[in-house]
């Protein structure tokens, strides 16, 4: 069965969706991702959907759900690289994905995740302010 790979990069997880999502694939991703967050105790998830050309309300909702679930597991989610057509479709479907953080590309998404990282987690080398 085909799966979407989840890559670990330090404290973050990187998911690149390169194929057209169908419902089962989205649900599998949801399962895999929550499991991976909990296993690696990740602090952030970056989902790159720049290759995704078609979305429906189910995929949109799943993206929102994944983000909400990640938040419950104490990980920030950033969705990056949404295409204009996809954005328009989601808006027309009435899905604003209000809980999801977004960025233009992977680079900016990573930056956003770094900013989301609580500072107390960094090794306190000289935090004697």
């Amino acid at each position: 069965m085909e799966r979407i790979p989840i890559l670990r990069m330090g404290e973050f997880l990187l998911v690149t969706i390169q194929v057209d999502m169908h419902d089962r694939l989205a649900l599998t991703l949801q399962d895999d991702l929550t499991a991976a967050i909990s296993k690696n105790s990740s602090r952030g998830v970056l989902i790159d959907i720049s290759s995704l050309e078609i979305v429906d309300s189910f995929i949109g909702r799943t993206l929102g759900n994944i983000s909400a679930m990640a938040r419950v597991l104490d990980a920030a989610t950033v969705v990056v690289g949404m295409r204009p057509a996809v954005a328009i479709t989601l808006v027309e479907l009435g899905m604003a994905l209000s809980g999801v953080r977004t960025a233009l590309n992977v680079e900016k998404g990573m930056q956003l995740l770094q900013e989301c990282l609580p500072p107390k987690l960094q090794e306190d080398d000289d935090s004697s302010d």
């Binding site: 295409r83 954005a87 328009i88 808006v91 233009l104 590309n105």
Partner: protein, 291 residues
């Protein structure tokens, strides 16, 4: 119902030139005050019209108006009414071109068939029906010509009015001008999102100084655009909100949510610069001599 053969073609042939003169006189009395159309032109048009009408009537009956036999006639009429439309004639005046033929024609028919009531009725009926069909066609062609002009202008407006300007590295401005409807918003939204991708901008300023009124529909369109840009990872600032518009928005109960709004574009630009961590500072005086 009307019998198969009408005597109208022969009648037209017989009295063609008389009818022509009377018709032109009739028309001139109606439209002369406009002075837009010259008598020669009118004479020429009416002559062509009558000749073609007679020719067509010999081949086909009035009932076959929508068939191919009447194609030339319809084409001539369309041509005439299109040129009238471009000259700024009203639909009524354009339709009068055909309808003004009615009086001369009916009077001629009355004289011709004064001792045959049945024939007079038949021929009048055919003539009336014919003129009505021609007049309807004229009106339709006139409207169509006008509509073409309108839709072309709309298209022009659509293309002219949605420039997306790059103001700074990573900052786009979309100055909106004119009323926003669904079709325009779609174009605006698409071009804004496209430019966001192309330039990799993360702040977009939507300036609505040129939008005359904001009602719930326009506000909804704006919010859609903002949401779509946010989904792609760009922040939107709405600027150029005039006092009246602010009042309308509040009175209508439109919820702008967490969209940043600024009263003018320079405030919005300053905010955008700040969001990107940029500051503007005055250059140190260059006139001072350097050591």
């Amino acid at each position: 119902m009307i019998t198969s053969r009408s005597r109208l073609p022969e009648f037209l042939q017989k009295y063609g030139s008389d009818l022509h003169n009377e018709w032109v006189r009739e028309q001139l009395s109606i439209i002369s005050r406009h002075g837009v159309i010259r008598e020669n032109e009118l004479r020429d048009e009416t002559r062509r019209f009558l000749a073609l009408l007679q020719e067509t009537l010999q081949k086909a009956s009035v009932e076959e108006f929508s068939t191919g036999a009447w194609d030339n006639m319809r084409q001539l009429l369309s041509e005439i009414s299109r040129s009238r439309g471009l000259q700024g004639f009203s639909p009524t005046e354009t339709a009068l071109f055909v309808l003004s033929l009615k009086r001369p024609l009916c009077e001629r028919l009355k004289k011709e068939f004064s001792n045959d009531a049945q024939a007079l009725y038949n021929e009048t009926w055919v003539a009336t029906e014919l003129l009505e069909k021609l007049a309807l066609h004229t009106s339709e062609a006139h409207l169509k010509a006008r509509e073409e002009v309108i839709s072309r202008q709309q298209q022009d407006l659509l293309e002219l009015s949605t420039p997306v300007v790059k103001l700074w590295e990573g900052i786009l401005v979309l100055p909106m001008i004119g009323t926003l409807d669904s079709a325009r918003t779609q174009v605006v939204m698409e071009s804004l999102l496209q430019r966001i991708v192309e330039t990799g901008s993360d702040v977009a300023i939507i300036d609505i100084t040129g939008v005359p009124t904001v009602d719930t529909l326009v506000a909804q369109h704006l919010l859609k655009t903002v949401t779509a840009a946010r989904l792609m990872g760009a922040d939107c600032i709405i600027s150029g909100i005039r006092p009246q518009i602010a009042q309308t928005i509040v009175h209508l109960g439109v919820e702008l949510g967490d969209v940043t709004t600024k009263s003018n574009i320079s405030d919005a630009f300053a905010l955008a610069l700040r969001q990107r961590g940029l500051t503007v500072c005055k250059q140190k005086s260059t006139s001072a001599p350097k050591p």
